[in-house]
């Protein structure tokens, strides 16, 4: 046993984050800890990494009991953590980032040549290909994560904790990451993987702990379980599969004709023509960065297209203002809930009011009516099951999943004919995801036209009546439900063509 945590309990105010949690890690093992958001899996690892102190319990690393006061202590004991949010110096090189705090010196001076050489050796040894002299700012997300891993290896960590490592990665980068994790375990490192993505758990783990409401509820060998069982253990009840009726074809509510966008001389969108009918969910599948974000920005008025037209409920809204487009009958659950979707320093009340601030009964002749706003916020919070302590608490205090639910609540309650959902369930747990999916299907059955953009292929496949595949700003394929499997879709997404034989 390389480490063991015994009877760890941790409470924040009144919330029990960890309730008598005991777990252990064997050398060279890949251990997964799965659970919904708020199940306590991040907390237990933060305790191990010295970011939080337990109220009671014991941590044993390498046979001796330890008390970590900060991450440096944990690092000294050979424990490293790849955080969800990267901690990197953007304008510096890969090598500089890796040696920071343990610089290679020549007297008072930096020995950069040696640093570059050391990083190169490290990268060769673990098969993590990287250019030590590249600037972080020029590295894609997958490479940045690799730098984080190398940073930990440079400090001779034996135990590596990954906190939701695939949340920010594209599907191809996820594959590379899983290979890396396997490689590290083969090289003798012991791995802890915190995640709620069960495919990844099944793909790499040796052993799995399932946590729910602060407790470890199950321990399984990966070979002896399956995704259904793990999912059921995570949420505490069997998952219902969606009952999806065949679509009732309605008239076209959202349409783009030859939509183009040229940015800095580069064609980001080329002649995108698509349509979404009433009572239909249309998915856009693609590896992120192939123009999905720009397409949605052009439709919703956040960016100006350089050619083509956009119609919402029959009206030409090309390059109109965001407000004009929304007034034409469009609601938009935006890609990034904190950048576009909400004001993090605003209260929940203020965030639910957004967009409707000029409507009766919320305001009259520029004077807001606090009571009606409060009632509305309370109603949405209740209806959409947002876990919040009060309608006047700050948006940033909500967990990711609950913040997303509130945004979904706001946009869906606008009751517009067209609804655009971008990454509606990114980084949120199964329970919240299921709730959001149900709402989307409900809206579809009520006759809304829904455009869904998601980097989760399973989400697109399970919800969409029709799918467009986007690659390098072009629509490269269109399919209806059931006429396509994920392998073919995946191939088109990376620019391949289908071999009809």
């Amino acid at each position: 046993m390389i480490f063991e945590m015994k009877h760890i309990t941790k409470t924040y105010d009144t919330v029990v984050a960890n309730d008598d949690v005991s777990l252990h890690l064997n050398p060279g093992e890949i251990l997964s800890i799965v659970g919904e958001n708020g199940a306590g899996k991040s907390t237990i690892m933060k305790i191990l990494y010295g970011l939080e102190k337990p109220d009671s319990g014991e941590i044993i690393v390498g046979g001796a009991p330890r008390h970590f006061h900060n991450p440096s202590d944990a690092m000294a004991a050979g424990i490293g953590m790849v955080q969800q949010h990267f901690m990197l110096f953007e304008q510096m090189t890969v090598a500089e980032n890796i040696v920071f705090k343990n610089e290679l010196r020549k007297g008072l001076f930096m020995d950069m040549d040696k640093a570059v050489e050391t990083v190169r050796q490290l990268s060769d040894r673990y098969g993590l290909k990287i250019d030590p002299k590249a600037r972080i700012a020029d590295c894609p997300v997958g490479l940045r994560q690799r730098v984080e891993i190398l940073k930990i290896l440079y400090q001779n960590a034996e135990i590596i904790i990954f906190d939701e490592p695939s949340a920010v990665l594209t599907p191809l980068e996820v594959e590379a990451l899983l290979d890396t994790i396997r490689g590290l375990a083969k090289a003798g490192k012991s791995i802890v993987l915190i995640t709620h993505k069960l495919q990844e758990v099944m793909a790499v783990s040796d052993r799995v702990y399932v946590m729910r409401q602060g407790k470890v509820v199950a321990e399984r060998m990966a070979a002896e379980t399956d995704m259904e069982e793990l999912a059921m253990l995570m949420v505490g009840h069997p998952l219902a599969s969606y009952q999806i009726d065949p679509p009732v074809p309605g008239k076209t509510l959202l349409e783009t004709r030859d939509l183009c966008l040229v940015e800095n001389g580069r064609k980001v969108l080329s002649d995108i023509s698509l349509h979404v009918n009433a009572g239909e969910i249309v998915g856009i599948a693609g590896v992120s960065g192939n123009g999905q974000s720009e397409l949605i920005q052009c439709i919703t008025g956040l960016a100006r297209s350089t050619g083509g037209q956009v119609f919402v409920a029959g009206a030409d809204v090309t390059n109109r203002s965001v407000k004009a487009i929304r007034d034409a009958g469009l609601a938009h659950i935006s890609e990034d809930r904190y950048v576009w979707g909400s004001a993090t320093d605003g209260t929940l009340e203020e965030n639910t009011l957004m967009i409707r601030q000029d409507d009766a009964p919320f305001s009259k002749r520029g004077i807001v009516n606090h009571k009606s706003i409060r009632d509305y916020a309370v109603r949405l919070i209740k209806e959409f099951n947002v876990k919040a302590s009060s309608p006047v608490q700050k948006m940033r205090e909500l967990s990711g999943g609950n913040a997303q639910k509130l945004i979904v609540a706001r946009e869906m309650s606008l009751d517009t004919p067209v609804l655009i959902c971008c990454e509606p369930t990114r980084g949120i747990d199964i329970g919240a995801m299921e709730a959001i999916h149900r709402r989307m299907l409900q809206r579809r059955d009520q006759g809304s036209a829904i455009l869904l953009v998601s980097s989760e292929l399973t989400e697109i496949m399970s919800l969409s009546d029709r799918i467009y595949v986007i690659f390098e700003g072009k629509i490269v394929g269109e399919f209806t439900r059931g006429s396509m499997d994920d392998k073919h879709l995946g191939l088109l997404m990376v620019g391949g063509t289908i071999n009809h034989e």
Binding site: N70, P71, S72, M75, Q83, M87, L88, F89, E90, Q91, M92, E96, F100, K101, E103, R105, L108, F109, M110, N264, G265, R266
Partner: protein
């Protein structure tokens, strides 16, 4: 010809205080402490350099006192911003207003005047006459009556470059300025680094203060800093905190100030002339930003 040499000479003397202050501003900006108290710090250290020299007649002690006063001001500034989380703009402006009021007050208490003190018997900093160039006509005028601190300013620019870009401590300072939470995640005490770095760099403002009051003759005039602190802030902005770049950007502002002075007595109005350095500041910032934007665009394409 001789006129040109004189212009270069007064340009050099205008450059060095701005250069010294922008070197301090450079460190502050690299560690992400927005220091707008440069002006007040400069004024305070200039005043105390003069005061010490007036009473003790000891040039070394005066320089030391100026440096300590400047470091004290910078420490207060960074302590309030970093530790007490004060708004940098408020903290800085409070210190500037304080410096202005405090020096004017002491001026009237100690010297019973509100304008200028210019004791004829008090000598300023020793002028350095480089033996090699004394006899070369043009060059000797160019470098005449410069003090040790004037030369030191350029040396310090190089030293600061080496510290910031070649040493371990400079590397850490630049890194933590880029991403504080990344630095602290690796166990770096970010506030400590910030406060120590800004405080020590403050001593360069002390040197600049000495140049103002002891650079030629020993004298003090109310508000002698004359917005050089703000100009240095602009100069530092222009060179993005790079110590060697600071030489060039301070040269730009030093030159325009000298130009304004040398045009005095011509047909151009005094008030217009006084605007030149500030118009140059705005113009330089605008040009630089336009250039940076165009460059970014070219790179993207």
């Amino acid at each position: 010809m001789n006129y040109l040499a004189q212009v270069i000479n007064s340009t050099l003397r205008e450059i060095t205080p701005i250069l010294l202050v922008s070197l301090c501003a450079g460190v502050c900006s690299k560690v992400q402490v927005f220091n707008i108290a440069l002006e007040g710090t400069l004024l305070m250290s200039a005043f105390f350099a003069f005061l010490t020299h007036y009473f003790l007649r000891n040039i070394f002690l005066s320089v030391a006192v100026a440096m300590v006063v400047a470091m004290g001001m910078t420490f207060i500034m960074s302590f309030f911003i970093v530790k007490l989380k004060g708004q940098p703009m408020i903290v800085g402006m409070a210190l500037n207003t304080f410096a202005r009021g405090f020096t004017t007050f002491l001026l009237s208490v100690v010297f019973k005047t509100k304008g200028a003190v210019n004791p004829s018997d008090l000598k300023g900093l020793t002028k350095l006459d480089l033996p090699g160039i004394r006899r070369i006509p043009f060059v000797s005028t160019m470098f005449s009556s410069l003090t040790v601190i004037d030369y030191l300013a350029f040396v310090l620019a190089v030293v600061m470059f080496i510290i910031m870009y070649r040493t371990v401590i400079g590397f850490r300072l630049r890194a933590l300025g880029i991403n504080q939470s990344a630095a602290s995640s690796l166990g770096i005490n970010v506030p400590k680094y910030q406060i120590l770095a800004t405080t020590f760099s403050g001593c360069m403002i002390g040197l600049a203060g000495c140049l103002l009051t002891l650079g030629r003759n020993a004298m003090f005039i109310q508000d002698i800093s004359g917005a050089r602190g703000y100009v240095a802030l602009a100069a530092n902005n222009l060179c993005k905190g790079h110590p060697l770049g600071a030489i060039i950007s301070s040269a730009l502002f030093g030159f325009t100030t000298a130009l304004a002075q040398s045009l005095q007595g011509t047909a151009i109005r005094q008030q217009l002339l006084q605007c030149i350095p500030y118009i140059a500041t705005i113009a330089a910032m605008a040009f630089y930003n336009a250039y940076a934007k165009a460059k970014a665009k070219r790179q993207a394409a």
